[in-house]
């Protein structure tokens, strides 16, 4: 259940920065792969952002945004692909991350003449850029890719400047980022996750020191004494996600800053299961 969250967050960062400028179609040359199958929600969104939506003939079950993708044939979960199922879509190319599998299926696909492009799934900026460039090359829209990278950098720079200014008269707040599912047992984003990266970019200090996503006890969370909680819920949105928190954490209202809304910022996003972000 955890990896999708990482993708969700990675995609979220991407989606927040990019979507406004991502709609123009690109000219394509004839010798580039024309029939695409994409496995991995974030990658699929990039393909769409680079103007490749018309080339997609199938996507995996994690590729849910934009909505128009829902009409495409689903090839199953990216880790459990079926060689024959994919071949039945007659693709020229399969793009996915190194999470794609199982390996024997990938080698069967290669034998059948399908170009299999395995991109990195590391949640960091250089990876994102090189993936974007690679996809741009394969789609024949390299200019678009460079343009997107430039605007991404621009927006990150703006963000950094803003954070620096803010931190001149205020220290970085301690933050915990919770990824929940219908309010039940939210998991805390640890070091090396996309959530961690997101907290840093926003000028916060991630209080969690574990790696990956882990379920915390109430006491452990209260012990970290976060000033800000960021809640991403896959099913509930907005106030409902907030309300779900004390329900599953009976003593949380006793801790210092729990659920006392300081600033509620809502950012709708286009990734994965359309979670809503509430900063409490």
């Amino acid at each position: 259940m955890m990896r999708p969250h990482a993708r969700l967050l990675l995609g979220l960062c991407a989606g927040l920065f990019f979507l406004p400028s991502a709609f123009a179609a690109q000219p394509s040359s004839a010798d580039l792969p024309q029939r695409w199958v994409s496995a991995g929600g974030a990658l699929t969104e990039w393909v769409v952002a680079l103007g490749g939506e018309s080339k997609l003939v199938g996507v995996d079950t994690t590729s849910l945004h934009p909505d128009s993708l829902k009409a495409l044939p689903k090839i199953g979960y990216q880790r459990q692909l079926s060689a024959e199922g994919i071949l039945s879509l007659r693709p020229n190319i399969l793009v996915g991350t190194e999470e794609m599998g199982p390996p024997p299926v990938l080698s069967q696909l290669r034998t059948a003449g399908v170009q299999v492009e395995v991109l990195s799934a590391e949640p960091d900026l250089p990876t994102l850029k090189s993936n974007l460039q690679q996809l741009g090359k394969l789609l024949g829209s390299e200019d678009k890719a460079s343009q997107l990278i430039a605007s991404y950098d621009q927006q990150l720079d703006d963000q950094h400047r803003w954070v620096e200014q803010a931190q001149q008269h205020q220290s970085a707040p301690g933050v915990l980022l919770l990824v929940g599912n219908g309010g039940s047992k939210p998991m805390v984003a640890g070091v090396g996750t996309a959530g961690d990266w997101l907290i840093k970019q926003a000028g916060g200090r991630n209080l969690a020191t574990h790696t990956g996503y882990k379920v915390f006890s109430v006491e452990a969370m209260a012990g970290l004494n976060p000033q800000v909680l960021v809640v991403a819920d896959r099913e509930l949105a907005g106030p409902a996600a907030l309300q779900a928190l004390p329900r599953c954490r009976p003593c949380s209202n006793r801790t210092r800053c729990w659920l006392r809304p300081r600033l509620a910022a809502k950012a709708d996003c286009w990734i994965w299961t359309r979670p809503c972000w509430w900063v409490v």
Binding site: G76, Q80, S82, E84, S88, E99, P104
Partner: protein, 345 residues
């Protein structure tokens, strides 16, 4: 117990069913191939060169994707069902299944160790990577079964009841260790673990197939030779001993065969439940409890059921596919219930 079918018609029906399952498994899939092309490709695969346009695609799909998958399904189905018969005969308990002596959970533990430990230690050289999981699963299965057997032995006698309880205890121990691995696993390995536990014939390749086929042939040849001894064992251990059966060596053989077979099957296809438990009952309801019929008939029925389940698994959600562990129970359980109710009335 009433017998619905005499052995001869039973074997004819099961053979036809098994052949049908084999053929459909080669002929049907998400890629729709004309039947003639499948036939031609199948003939070409046996080494007879025949001409045809556009056969490369068909040959690739039939030869490299469907045939290994079909063979895997046949072997796993047959081995699981045979092991089920052996365990139910040995423990004289209708709830016995191949997992009872701890093979399945041992194999799952081995696999979890390979999946989680493999990524923890930074992976293996590429040449070993495909075998690591199977090897660990196989070894895990055999090791736990050996432990159960050792625990059941006392003064040169093997107590079946102690073995049963030891099996339950070790299974619990193994699953809590797997739980620990699940907790320690990072996101990627967690997913691999989950899907491995659901079982799948997906991604079968010849390289991984040969060890299982070998084990399968050995067990299919060996277990039916013990049919008479298993029949005698139905009367009770001391009765069997008085009838001249070497009960201790029989137990050893049955457990070894089961551990080897289930270990290899789980290593190749992951955890596929239901077949080992239900198929022997199913055949017993159809043909009575005589092991001379039960053993070979269960092998055929297990193989057919698994192939049909796999067909369903790969066609129903195409181009995606369902894990087969879900399908086997889904297809087999209603039929089993029907037989149960009918047998009672």
């Amino acid at each position: 117990m009433r017998v619905f079918l005499q052995p001869r018609p039973l074997f004819i029906i099961l053979s036809v069913l098994c052949f049908l399952a084999f053929w459909l498994s080669l002929a049907l899939g998400p890629v729709s191939l004309p039947l003639v092309d499948t036939l031609r490709a199948a003939i070409r695969l046996t080494g007879i060169p025949i001409q045809g346009d556009n056969l490369e695609q068909a040959e690739l799909i039939v030869g490299q994707i469907r045939l290994p998958r079909t063979l895997l399904g046949l072997a796993v189905g047959a081995v699981l069902a045979l092991s089920g018969v052996a365990m139910q005969g040995l423990f004289r308990n209708p709830l016995a299944d191949p997992g009872l002596v701890g093979v399945s959970s041992g194999a799952a533990l081995g696999a979890a160790l390979a999946i989680v430990g493999g990524s923890f230690f930074g992976g293996l050289p590429d040449a070993f990577e495909p075998y690591l999981l199977s090897l660990c699963a196989g070894i895990g299965g055999l090791a736990v079964a050996a432990m159960v057997y050792r625990l059941g032995r006392h003064n040169g006698q093997t107590s079946v009841a102690t073995m049963l309880l030891a099996g339950i205890a070790l299974t619990a121990l193994a699953s809590s260790t797997i739980g620990l691995f699940t907790y320690l696993a990072d996101d990627a390995t967690l997913r691999t673990l989950t899907f491995w536990n659901l079982g799948s014939l997906n991604g079968a390749s010849y390289v991984r197939l040969w060890p299982l086929l070998l084990v399968c042939v050995v067990i299919i040849c060996w277990l039916p030779r013990r049919a008479k001894a298993l029949n005698a064992l139905l009367l009770g251990e001391s009765e069997a001993r008085h009838l001249g059966v070497e009960v201790e060596s029989l137990k050893r053989e049955l457990i070894f065969c089961t551990a080897l077979g289930v270990g290899a099957a789980v290593a190749a296809a992951g955890m596929i439940g239901f077949i080992g438990l239900i198929v022997p009952h199913l055949v017993r309801l159809l043909a009575g409890p005589d092991h001379r019929v039960l053993l070979p008939a269960s092998a055929l029925a297990g193989a057919s059921l698994l192939l049909f389940a796999d067909l369903f698994a790969r066609l129903v959600l195409a181009p995606a596919e369902l894990p087969i562990g879900i399908v086997t129970a889904f297809l087999g359980a209603p039929f089993f219930l029907y037989l149960l109710v009918r047998g009672r009335s």
